[in-house]
Symmetry: C2
Subunit: 194 residues, 2 copies
Amino acid sequence: MAKRTGEKYEAIIDAAVRVIAKYGYHQAQVSRIAREANVADGTIYLYFANKDDVLISLFNEKMGQFISNASKALSEIESPVDQLRELIRLHFESLAADYQLAIVTQIELRQSKPEVRKEIGLILKRYLKVMDQVIEAGVEQGAFRDDFDVITARRMIFGTIDETVTSWIMKDCKYPLMDQVDPILDLLLNGFSR
Amino acid sequence: MAKRTGEKYEAIIDAAVRVIAKYGYHQAQVSRIAREANVADGTIYLYFANKDDVLISLFNEKMGQFISNASKALSEIESPVDQLRELIRLHFESLAADYQLAIVTQIELRQSKPEVRKEIGLILKRYLKVMDQVIEAGVEQGAFRDDFDVITARRMIFGTIDETVTSWIMKDCKYPLMDQVDPILDLLLNGFSR
DNA sequence: GGATGTTGAATGAATGGTCATTCATTTACG
DNA sequence: CGTAAATGAATGACCATTCATTCAACATCC
C-alpha cells in the first residue's frame, strides 16, 4: 500500500487541488476527491496512508517543485537586488499561473489539523532558507545595510509577500498580481521615509 | 435566547479562549468549553446561537476592545513616525500580555469554517482602516514618501507584524516580542538598501 | 488457441466513532 | 406557586476508513 507514484497518484493529488479550491477544505471529503479523480474511495488508500497524507503530499509535490525552480533560477543571478526582485516575481508568478493551487496553499490548507500544518511548516522552512540566503548575499556584497537582523528582514519579506497574495485571492484575483512586484521591491529596499 | 451579555456570557468566552489555546481548535468541543466555564453544555446555547457564534463573539469582544484602545491612543500622537511605532507597539503589547489569546487569534481561529472567517475578516477590516489612516497622515504631513500606494504599504505593515507575531508564537514566545518593535519600524521606514 | 489458474489492483457498501445540538426535566428564586 | 434559567443525557448527522468482493491482465498447460 501507499505507492507514492503513478498515474493515479497524480490524478488524486490534482483532483484534491480542484476539489479543495472549489468546495473548500471542510467540504473536501475523501469521496468527493475520489469521484473527481475518477477513482473509487478505497483506491485513495492504495496510494496514500490516509486523508492527511493526501494533503501533505499535495503540498510537498507542488512546493518542492517550486523551491527547486526558484533555487536554480536565483543561483544564476548576481545582483542581490535582482535576486530579491526575481524571488518576489517567481513567488507571484507561480501562484498567478495556477490560482486553484493558490487558493489551496494560501487559504484552505491553513485550516488543516496541527499534524498536517506541522509537516507543511517543515516543507516551507526550505523556502525560508532560500530567502535568508538572498538577504545574506545582499549584506555580504554591500548592496544591503549590515545593521539589521536577517531573520527580522526575512519575516518582513515573507510576511509582505504572503499578505499580498492572500488579499489578491480574497479579492478574487481581480487585478494582476505581477503588477505588485516592483512596488513591493521598492518599499522593501527604500522604506516609507522620505 | 442568545442574550449577549452577562456573567456567564463572559465566562463562556474566556473559557473558550483557554480551551482553544490549550487543546487547539479541533479539540475544543462545546462540552469541553462548557466544563471549563463551569456551565452545562446546553447553557451555552442560551447565550450563543451556536458554536460558531461563540468563536465570532470571542474575536469581536477581544478585537473590538483592542481597536478602540488603539484608535484612541493614536489620535493623541502627532508625529506619523511615532504613530507607526505606537501602532506596532500596541499590537505586540496586546498579544504579549495575553499569550493564550495570541494563540487563539493568531493560529487557532484561522482554522475555522469559512463563515466564521468571513465574520472575523469584517472585524479585522476596521483595524486595517486604522492602519491606512496612519499611513495617509504620514504622506500628507510629508514624513513619508508620496510615491507609493497606501494599500501596498499597509499590506507590508500588516504582513510584517502578523508574520512576526506568528513566528514568535511558533517559537513558544521564548524571546520578548517587544524587542522587535524598533527593528521593524526601522526596516519599514528605511528599507534594506544601503 | 482456448480453457483454466493466479495475482494484485480497484471497488464501494458498511462500519464506527465523533460531536453539535436539542429538549424534557430539574432547580432556584421572587 | 410560577417563571425563568440551567441541566445533561439522548439524538442524529456526518465522514474517514475498512475489507469482502469483483475485475482485468497475464501466465500456464493441454
